[in-house]
Symmetry: C2
Subunit: 230 residues, 2 copies
DNA sequence: CGACCATTTGATATGGATCAAGCGATGTGG
DNA sequence: CCACATCGCTTGATCCATATCAAATGGTCG
């Protein structure tokens, strides 16, 4: 079948000398409301790997700027993107000891790096923290469940759903500035780039959206998109 | 498109006078290792609804016998099954206040009903319990992530993956006794019954499996199935 | 035995994949 | 500053896996 991207391994691992984290002291940028155990924002270049599938999950991460994708590559090279993370989102949180997906920066990004063990230890004493961890995992669960519902739909429905999801996650009204390529979108939606592209032009032709430039989408008719969103 | 089952609403709600739970005292059946706050096993008839999407999540549940499906129905009637739960599995655990899926008994089943508030209160004091709740949610998350990977594959791969998953969850070696119909399997895998049926006969023809009766599957060649599992 | 329901099998249709150009923007070296 | 290579995206033509429509078979229960 081979629907998705054929594995295009990201070259530069740990561009900023990652795993040798010199986590510089404790600063505070309210992590939600109560958790403040994090290092300085760390920069990752476009396409740089933040962590790999099956690596020990020593850290979790909070996007400060830019955007991140997590993904898995199947044996035969198909890639499935699990999620996109935008500023404010936390990713890489695991209960087990290993990351279940890989994570890469989509564009040059800054990410807060948080030591998991510190958080887990704190959670053992502070049930506020414990609840927060649980809530974050549950939030992920909901997102993934919504993703499943996307994957059983038609191409139009998937793309419409994707656009609505993105627009809900960015504050700005009807204009979306996509950080990710068509290939990323395709691998997120379980489609090919060609189908994503064609579907966007269909939506444009029916005046549901406008595509002034390939990375910029204007939602022109949310009602129509919502109708597609089933 | 209309791939899945057209909504076939389950008739009998709360067959055993559910929501008026007469939760009879506290008995003990180690809930994992440390939690023991549950009522008596409650019977649900085949196809009976245990809870509906968007209902308040007052309880969570542990399967004692039988099997359960959770699902969502889209506007246009397509049904997506989110998971199958077998004896020992816990389902219906939410962090938020409402169930995000509906749940039905697939066959006559017995289910332990556990008051969520009791558990959540306990978790606020006992971090053993808090961790357990988190772990259970994380387990669900992993399962759903695996489900996503299934949904991007070919029909053969999905069916092979499903069979391997089921066989891993039932102790017995190579013989699986499926509690669910072809329609349930189809709605879980995002396929039609016809495709599920045809795919099973293909797998039978290649001697990967045997299908002595429609609900009984024998895994004859796990290597072949694993190969399909990508 | 007969009715009903689940499953299988067959014939055909179709949405999206695949194969293949073409096009526009961005960046690089001369 | 322009010519050209590169990359991401779009568009076109064709193919194929799975859906859809239809019918036959089989199993279960009254």
């Amino acid at each position: 079948m081979l629907t998705q991207t054929m594995i295009h391994r990201s070259s530069s691992r740990h561009p900023a000398g990652h795993h040798a984290h010199p986590v510089p002291a404790v600063n505070s940028h309210s992590f939600g409301t109560s958790i403040e155990l994090m290092g300085a924002p760390m920069p990752f270049a476009r396409n740089a790997e933040i962590y790999g599938e099956n690596e020990p999950a020593e850290y979790l991460y909070k996007v400060v700027s830019g955007s991140i994708r997590t993904y898995k590559v199947l044996n035969d090279g198909r890639r499935q993107i699990g999620a996109f993370y935008l500023p404010g989102d936390v990713f890489g949180l695991e209960v087990g000891d290993e990351h279940t997906f890989s994570a890469e920066a989509i564009v040059n990004s800054k990410v807060l790096v948080i030591k998991r063990s510190a958080l887990v230890n704190l959670a053992a004493r502070d049930n506020e923290t414990a609840r927060k961890l649980w809530t974050m995992t549950a939030g992920e669960l909901q997102r993934v469940q919504a993703h499943i519902l996307l994957l059983i739909k038609t191409a139009q429905e998937r793309v419409a759903g994707f656009l609505l999801e993105m627009s809900a996650r960015v504050p700005m009204g009807n204009e979306i500035d996509l950080p990710m390529s068509r290939q990323d979108i395709a691998d997120y939606l379980g489609l090919t780039i060609e189908t994503v592209s064609r579907t966007l032009t269909q939506l444009e032709n029916t005046a549901a959206i406008a595509v002034p430039s390939s990375r910029r989408i204007v939602l022109r008719n949310r009602a129509a998109l919502n109708r597609l969103n089933a």
